[in-house]
């Protein structure tokens, strides 16, 4: 029973947690690793010459290696950040020299604000054009989405691997191939926050230039994330944050930056979170993506069929409606019933869901949705959670109708 490994359910046994796209609950092993740092090895990294500090440094290096193994990269290509948002914002400053007056920067209407606003601001700072690729009617990206917006002046393309609203999976390897054909000079950035705990990431197969994801959306702690960058690209980029640990020498006339990735990691990171993140990688590896996918597919199929069976024409499911197209997220609307009312009433019945725009205003504007109700899954969810959701929804829609 995987649920037993999540202490939150001991404190809240009645909770039906269907908000895992906001944050995943943490298994005991992740919590224990964070505590272990605080209680038994709370020293700083990289500089201490005594055994305790050396041990902490070695552990952080080991987590960097685990992150690299998780996505098939080299450890030098792994930058610790405080999360996806921090990673993408940092990337926008690292890449500033690439964006020119004649160039254009492309994002998509599916993006979370954190993979949209940094690029819009970057375009503005560089007086470049900001363009938006349009998602399909089922909330996915295809070649047609990018057809009209890419050209030889496209200098950057940012897209999401899994939409945080629709939950629809984008075919990143084939989209990257297409983008490279149409925009040969573009740097390609992937927001993998919603994918990391649900489907594997293979940086060599994807061939993207940079990829960002968060620890807390993959059963790890908050305050830690990964920014992957191709080594050949990172070697050419300036740092975005300056301070301790990122220079090998500093004179008034000249600063000598350290090697990659140290030059991008100024200051002391959240070391307790890095310890925890290491256990999150271990947890995912232990279960395996084959089993995780099987679990998601079973929940998605059950939820889609139950919601349709019980609510019929009254419910509108965002996306294709085919279980295999989603990765742990399903969103819907109920005619004129407001998602905030639905979520609040579900909350009163111990069913935790999310309602609103999910930090993706462009998607809602384009699809003419005021707001949506979102359910999202973790490895601890069971079919009975969906049955309790459906039962609660029946009551909620009766109250509101």
């Amino acid at each position: 029973m995987l649920k037993e490994r999540f202490p939150l359910f001991k404190k809240h046994p009645e909770l039906v947690y269907l908000d895992s796209a906001a944050t995943k609950l943490k298994p005991a092993s992740v919590i224990a690793a964070q505590t272990e740092y605080l209680e038994a090895s709370s020293t700083n990294i990289a500089r201490g010459l005594y055994p305790l500090a050396e041990g902490t440094t070695a552990r952080v290096d080991a987590v960097r290696k685990a992150a690299a193994d998780f996505i098939g990269s080299d450890p030098e290509e792994i930058i610790f950040t405080s999360g996806t948002t921090a990673g993408l914002n940092m990337a926008a400053y690292m890449l500033e020299n690439f964006i020119t007056l004649e160039g254009n920067v492309v994002a998509t209407d599916l993006e979370h604000h954190s993979n949209y606003l940094p690029w819009k601001e970057l375009a503005k700072r560089s007086s470049a054009e900001f363009r938006l690729a349009a998602s399909t009617s089922t909330g996915a990206l295809d070649e047609e989405s990018f057809e009209g917006v890419l050209d030889e002046h496209t200098e950057l393309v940012a897209l999401t691997a899994v939409s945080n609203v629709s939950g629809i999976i984008n075919d990143i390897p084939s989209l990257v191939r297409f983008i490279r054909k149409r925009a040969p000079h573009a740097i390609i950035i992937i927001d993998a926050a919603q994918r990391a705990a649900h489907l594997p990431i293979d940086v060599r197969e994807w061939d993207a230039d940079m990829i960002a994801f968060s620890g807390h959306k993959m059963y790890g702690p908050t305050g830690i994330g990964i920014l992957y960058g191709k080594k050949s690209l990172l070697d050419t980029l300036p740092p975005a944050v300056f301070g301790g640990g990122m220079v090998s020498d500093a004179y008034a006339e000249e600063t000598v930056y350290r090697e990659v990735p140290a030059r991008f990691e100024a200051g002391t990171p959240d070391i307790a979170a890095i310890f925890g993140l290491g256990e999150a990688f271990r947890f995912l590896e232990e279960i395996g993506f084959e089993k995780i996918r099987e679990h998601d597919l079973a929940l998605q199929a059950h939820a889609l069929s139950e919601l349709r069976k019980v609510f019929g024409e009254d419910i509108q499911i965002i996306g294709s409606g085919k279980p295999e197209d989603y990765a742990g997220i399903l969103s819907f609307t109920f005619g004129s019933l407001h998602p905030h009312d639905i979520a609040q009433l579900l909350g009163e019945k111990n069913v935790a869901v999310r309602a609103g725009e999910h930090c993706a205003a462009p998607f809602h504007r384009v699809k003419r949705l005021a707001a949506t109700t979102r359910i999202s899954f973790g490895i601890y969810n069971e079919k009975s959670d969906i049955d309790r959701l459906v039962a609660a929804l029946k009551e909620v829609t009766r109250i509101l109708s």
Binding site: H338, H340, E348
Partner: protein, 120 residues
């Protein structure tokens, strides 16, 4: 206790003074873009008294019920008294104990009323 008490659901399902006033002296619209809620309010003001109110809108139960309750309360009142209404007055009137997230739903009605009083 549920936020959705009977009087809230009643005002949500049967909003009072719903509809436009054909010869309104004052009018305002307000929008809450993050949740898609919108309200439009017509007032007929004579000698500093709100004689008639009429509103339309779409949104969540909290925003619509608050609008119905507040605008019903404003009817027959002096405009000077309505101009100084505070957020706490709206919460008292509706009897809602709201989290900060939902506060803006209830207060859209107050914003609309104050805008209408200032309009011409």
């Amino acid at each position: 206790m549920s936020l959705y008490q009977d009087h809230i659901l009643d005002h949500y399902h049967n909003p009072r003074n719903y509809g436009n006033l054909p010869h309104a002296t004052h009018h305002a619209e307000a929008l809450n873009p993050t949740c898609g809620d919108s309200l439009a309010l017509d007032l007929n003001i004579e000698d500093g008294i709100i004689k008639e109110v009429g509103f339309t809108g779409k949104g969540c139960a909290i925003s619509l019920a608050s609008a119905s309750l507040l605008f019903e309360e404003a009817k027959g009142k002096e405009t000077v008294k309505m101009q100084v209404l505070a957020p706490e007055d709206v919460l008292k009137l509706t009897g809602l104990a709201l989290s900060p997230v939902r506060m803006k739903c209830a207060l859209l009605s107050l914003e609309t009323l104050k805008k209408a009083l200032k309009s011409k």
